[in-house]
Amino acid sequence: MATEAKKPIRWHVAVFLAPALLVYTAVMIIPLFGTLQLSLFSAEGQGRVFAGLDNFRTLFFDPRWSASFWNALWNNTWFFIIHMLVQNPIGIVLAALLSSPKLRFSAFYRTAIFIPTILSFVIVGFAWKLILSPLWGVAPNLLDLVGLKSLFTPWLGKEQYALTTLGLISVWQFIGIPMMLIYAALLSIPDEVIEAAECDGVTGMAQFWKIKLPLILPAIGIISILTFVGNFNAFDLIYSAQGALAGPNFSTDILGTFLYRTFFGFQLQIGDPYMGSTIASMMFFIILAGVCLYLFTVQTRLRRYQF
């Protein structure tokens, strides 16, 4: 624009932007690309050589690597499915109950249910490990109270249950986030809309399904994609509860723990930054694909209502 060119350079704009851009670019963007780049190299004596896509080929097809990779990827997918099937529906129910008008003590419930979300994975992992441990009688005793003691087994110690148990623990921890976001979305529905529905005789469950649910779909969409990113980047809970080897027998191994072991090495293997970068790059592509899929298919089809 001609008029703009005559104006003096507005240094303050640069000053305001510079610190954030510098830190963000130097510590986040450049390392992200650095990691992508490293995945194209492999170790050669002291130095490194360009290996093209060899690392990816190794990861997918070399029997020593591919079994672990596909196992971690499948486990990660199952971890995500548990969250979608359990966390979001329960979150919606809790938010719907909390947002019902004239409900007393709602601030208390909200705070109490959100507390697990603020705890660190280390606390959560160990607390549940202790509670579910067959050594300490809490879980069996509790099941005994309701007459279900026969159901108890060391859930975290058996291959067929461990991952699902950890998924449910993670759901327990993070339920606060969908609950809060959906609660906020429900509160932002104007009273007139609800009143209009009531005038038309749409009340109770029908009102929820026909009026409120369509209005909170965008919030549910955002929660789903946040869950996706969070799950495919998870590490801490598994590491705290099951260690870096993601026992028993790698049945709880997800991409995060696989990346950690590969990069740093652990007991049986030595660390390999190049294969580590390759796994991190695969996680990057998976998350990117998920986010793009969401942005281009789900987000554009969601109807947004303006009030």
Binding site: P19, A20, P116, M180
Partner: protein
């Protein structure tokens, strides 16, 4: 307004469900804290009972406080969290102000660039971040953690704060300009105080993941002098896993600070979420 939806049986049912879930949410926390005050025998014999005068015992706490450097770890976590929070809020607010206040070429592109980090986790760049920190001699310093967490917190901070800054009235800022205030003064004196509620929301969202993070302390600063409380508790628990008193006490000590912080900020957090974070 909605007499039809809040009849008595419905209300009771709602309370029953919410109470049941509250019990599920709090049970593990309560059981850990309660048992941390009991003697070893009582922990095993009656794990569900509250401590009595006979079973009350602080042995776990004395073990933890004598053995582990919990105060040092706590101090490290505190420094890292507060410093990162300060930089995220300052740099984030400055960038958000530039993006929402001025029209310049590449404005929206810049916004998009900064928003990328909301979706792509910084953890995926770990391999190269470690190399960067090794090259600049920052491994095993708190500075490394502060830098990483600042970068991690900035995208969301810029995103939320610029939404709020768009709502600050232009008349106010223009009045300031007519009075001869510089752009910097307008930002620090006029705009920053007005977006304080949004800053509190961003602070809570930024603080919790930093305080609880295990990945970066484990990788960038695992030395004794720079351990954070999360990493310290993790290692301590691993080491003393058979000393149940100590483990339960360590867990309780690690729960306490976040709990206090959350109770202080929770009202602000809820107000922040309901007034715009989802829109």
């Amino acid at each position: 307004m909605s007499t039809a939806t809040s009849s008595l049986p419905r209300t009771i049912a709602a309370h029953a469900v919410l109470l049941a879930y509250t019990a599920i949410a709090l049970f593990p926390v309560v059981i850990i804290v309660v048992n941390s005050f009991k003697s070893r025998n009582a922990i095993f014999r009656s794990p569900l009972a509250p401590p009595t005068t006979e079973t009350f015992d602080l042995i776990g706490y004395t073990t933890v406080l004598n053995q582990g450097d919990f105060f040092l770890y706590f101090q490290n976590s505190f420094i890292v969290t507060v410093m990162s929070l300060f930089f995220v809020l300052l740099f984030g607010a400055m960038a958000a102000f530039a993006l929402s206040e001025y029209r310049f070429r590449g404005n929206s592109l810049m916004g998009l660039y900064l928003a990328l980090g909301i979706m792509i986790p910084i953890r995926l760049g770990t391999v190269a971040i470690l190399q960067l920190m090794v090259a600049s001699g920052l491994v095993n310093t708190l500075t490394a953690l502060i830098l990483v967490y600042t970068a991690q917190g900035l995208p969301l901070a810029v995103f939320i704060l610029s939404e709020f800054m768009k709502q600050v009235s232009d008349d106010l800022k223009n009045a300031g300009r007519i009075d001869g205030l510089s752009e910097y003064r307008i930002f620090f004196r006029l705009v920053l105080p007005l977006v304080r509620p949004a800053m509190a929301t961003v602070a809570v969202f930024t603080m919790i993941p930093i305080w609880n993070d295990l990945w970066f302390p484990l990788i960038l600063a695992p030395s004794e002098a720079t351990k954070t409380i999360t990493l310290g508790a993790q290692l301590f628990i691993g080491q003393y896993v058979t000393n149940w008193n100590a483990v339960l006490a360590a867990l309780s000590l690690a729960i306490l600070p976040v709990l206090i912080l959350y109770l202080i900020f929770s009202r602000q957090l809820i107000r922040g979420i309901t007034s715009g974070a989802v829109k």
